[in-house]
């Protein structure tokens, strides 16, 4: 990921070559959105919960340094070893060093989008350390040598028949056996052996409590627990924005996280880690990787409130019809499109434009991030920073000239003449992009302006 030269529009165009698959992808994710709606509607105070969660996160962002220092102090008292990483590379080096110090070259890892963001797997594999992803969906994409296409449902782009083929090749299941229960049982047997034999487990962090120095990992499969409880070394990687002030705030976040994500009342496992078992090492790596830069951008800082529920992806009509990989970044969808330009504005200049600005994302967001407004604002920044095609800039200037001069507009617009060639929204793209699958509007015999003038002249 991140090395592709194709942008979101081109990758979506490829995805849309198979319309049946697009329909299936759309329906699958819409089903998740519908489950979310149902779960939310069971809670009469749902909108208050969102507001509450939003305000807690606002408070966190405004006092982040104090909360982090408090968390570090408490965690250290609890016997956890705390590391600080300025960027992805430092994070990866820290993890590698911990493993080297303990003579470990094989680890299990439960789901952590941060490690995807840091490309930890590639880094460790390059250093001859084997990583087994233990989240079922992540294991599937790992076997397929792909990146997750969704932050909660990593292999949502794969049909069960494709998974059956992967398992047949890698786990030796019978060819053509695609019964989900059978495949899950096969994965369980395969993963149990890894849990038992691996000496180190890496997990993500959903919430870290400043007050107590504990952290909470939410999974539906219990794989984080299996890894962490069996391993001699537990490494937890967390973005610095995952802090919450107090344990009691979990009462808000654990209620909204999974309702927003999958429509479940709560994750199957919400595991609290506070101190290592006797003889166990517990490490936390606190990672910045651009977060403080984002925090310094007034228009975009609230994107750091994200709790990674993916509700914005499931509701996004563009995501559902373009697939997670079309965003060519670890975190896809609307939230990814406002996070990624902070990391690399040139590489991800296309993402804020991969939206109709419909606003559904902001409405489902459990921490009330104004995602669609930030998409609009990123567009302005990207254009000003010059990451836009020069033809488009020239066309925009021509349009400005026409539209700000009523006389020019009238002559140019004489019943659609200028408009047919230069529909304001077709700027820089051949008008054929409209016409390829849509008819043009019929040109009326007169514009409203012309009709109006005639009416008045007749009077």
């Amino acid at each position: 990921m991140g090395t592709t030269t194709k942008d979101h529009a081109e990758l979506s165009d490829i995805f849309n070559k198979d319309e049946d698959r697009v329909n299936w992808h759309d329906e699958t994710l819409w089903f998740v959105r519908a489950k979310r709606d149902k779960a939310a509607h069971y809670i009469p105070e749902w909108e208050d919960l969102r507001e509450n969660a939003s305000q807690i996160k606002d408070n966190v962002l405004s006092n982040l340094s104090q909360y982090l220092i408090s968390f570090e102090e408490k965690a250290q008292k609890n016997g956890i070893i705390v590391h600080w990483a300025a960027d992805a590379q430092e994070h990866n080096k820290i993890v590698h060093q911990i493993l080297t110090d303990n003579g470990i070259n094989r680890i299990v890892k439960s789901k952590s989008m941060l490690t995807e963001e840091c490309h930890l797997n590639e880094y460790l594999e390059h250093n001859n350390i084997e990583v087994i992803d233990t989240d079922l969906g992540e294991r599937i994409v790992q076997l397929a040598k792909e990146a997750p296409s969704h932050i909660v449902l990593p292999c949502i782009h794969k049909k069960k028949e494709e998974i059956a083929e992967l398992f047949h090749q890698h786990l030796g299941t019978p060819k053509g056996e695609s019964d989900p229960i059978f495949l899950t049982a096969a994965a369980r047997i395969h993963l149990r052996e890894k849990f038992i034999t691996r000496k180190a487990a890496l997990t993500g962090v959903n919430f870290a409590v400043a007050e107590t120095g504990e952290f909470v990992v939410c999974t539906n499969e219990g794989n984080a627990d299996m890894g962490a409880h069996l391993a001699d070394v537990h490494i937890a990687s967390m973005g610095i924005e995952k802090i919450i002030p107090k344990r009691k705030h979990l009462a808000v976040f654990l209620r909204i996280l999974t309702r927003s994500a999958t429509g479940q009342p709560i994750t199957t496992y919400s595991s609290h880690f506070k101190k290592p078992r006797p003889g166990q090492q517990m490490h936390i790596v606190l990672v910045d990787n651009g977060r403080t830069t984002q925090l310094s951008r007034p228009d975009f800082r609230s994107s750091l409130k994200c709790i990674r529920c993916a509700a914005c992806m499931n509701t996004c009509p563009v995501y559902r019809r373009s697939g997670g990989h079309s965003y060519h970044t670890a975190i896809a969808g609307p939230i990814g499109s406002i996070l990624a330009p902070n990391l690399d504005m040139k590489e991800y200049a296309d993402l804020p434009f991969a939206s109709t600005l419909c606003g559904s994302c902001s409405n489902v967001c459990p921490v009330k991030i104004n995602i669609h407004e930030q998409l609009y604002k990123w567009r302005q920044v990207i254009v000003k920073e010059g990451y836009v095609d020069s033809k488009k800039a020239t066309a925009m200037k021509a349009m400005e000239f026409t539209l700000s001069n009523p006389g020019v507009y009238k002559t140019a617009g004489k019943v659609g003449r200028w408009f047919m060639k230069h529909l304001p929204f077709t700027v820089n793209n051949n008008i054929n992009s409209w016409y390829k699958q849509r008819d043009m509007p019929e040109v009326p015999k007169e514009s409203f302006g012309e009709w109006f003038k005639k009416q008045n002249d007749d009077k």
């Binding site: 849309n16 563009v318 991969a354 559904s360 800039a393 019943v415 849509r438 019929e442």
Partner: protein, 245 residues
């Protein structure tokens, strides 16, 4: 009360009937309407493409044209929202602020300002209502399916006053049609797919007409309907509300 009629550029050029219906409807309801003839475009196509800094002259022109009125009414949720959210002026910010507060989309003007309770209109057809996102989520013309909140809909409130009109239920009541301004050509594949899916929902539920408070969504869906040689037509909500008995 004098209302300035703000006619979006593509309505002026391609859908004059929507603007004529808006004008007639307002006049029928006893409103004094002025159409400033030097208007062009709100500047949204540029702003949504990231060129908001190029909309300054459009903004000034808009203030020249519309500052004097008690209200500004437009048959477009999207263009109204753009003015409401983004009209600013280096020289005349108080006027810009005034305009942002007094600009209304047609249906909200009818329900909230004129408080229309009765319409002399008849449209004996099955109609699917497309909730345009900028109108619905931006201007809050109707409750949004994502929120846990009491339902309401200003367009529906008006359409139920039209004799003979039958509203067609939709499977996804407020999914985006995929027009999205420059998105419709820059992201052609997804835009068209979204449009096809939206149109299909209306067709599967038996709509004869698809209506909306935004002609841009309808233009996109019309393009798809006509390409598939469907008999289903798009029609701006003003034309239905103005359809005589």
């Amino acid at each position: 009360m004098t209302v300035g009629l703000f006619v979006p550029c593509y309505i002026d050029q391609f859908y004059p009937n929507a603007a004529i219906a808006t004008l007639n409807l307002l006049q029928k309801l006893g409103v004094s309407v002025v159409y400033p003839t030097k208007q062009t475009c709100c500047g949204q196509p540029m702003a949504n493409s990231g060129f908001e800094h190029l909309t300054k002259s459009c903004n000034e022109l808009f203030i020249d044209n519309f500052d004097e009125f008690d209200y500004i009414v437009s048959p477009s949720g999207s263009c109204t929202l753009h003015i409401k959210d983004h009209l600013h002026s280096d020289k005349r910010e108080p006027q810009a602020t005034g305009i942002r507060k007094k600009v209304y989309e047609l249906t909200e003007f009818l329900t909230d300002i004129l408080k229309v309770e009765k319409l002399n209109a008849s449209f004996p057809h099955k109609v699917g209502v497309h909730q345009s996102c900028h109108g619905q989520r931006g201007l809050m013309l109707a409750q949004m399916s994502e929120l846990v909140a009491a339902p309401f809909s200003k367009p529906l409130q008006l359409l139920t006053m039209v004799e003979g009109l039958e509203i067609v239920p939709l499977n996804r009541p407020d999914e985006c049609c995929g027009f999205g301004g420059t998105f419709c050509v820059a992201e052609e594949a997804v835009s068209v797919k979204m449009g096809k899916d939206r149109v299909e929902d209306h067709l599967n539920n038996g709509a004869e007409f698809i209506t909306a408070a935004d002609m841009s969504c309808l233009m996109h869906m019309e393009g798809i309907l006509r390409r598939k040689e469907s008999n289903v037509k798009v029609i701006h909500i003003a034309e239905i509300l103005n359809a005589s008995q």
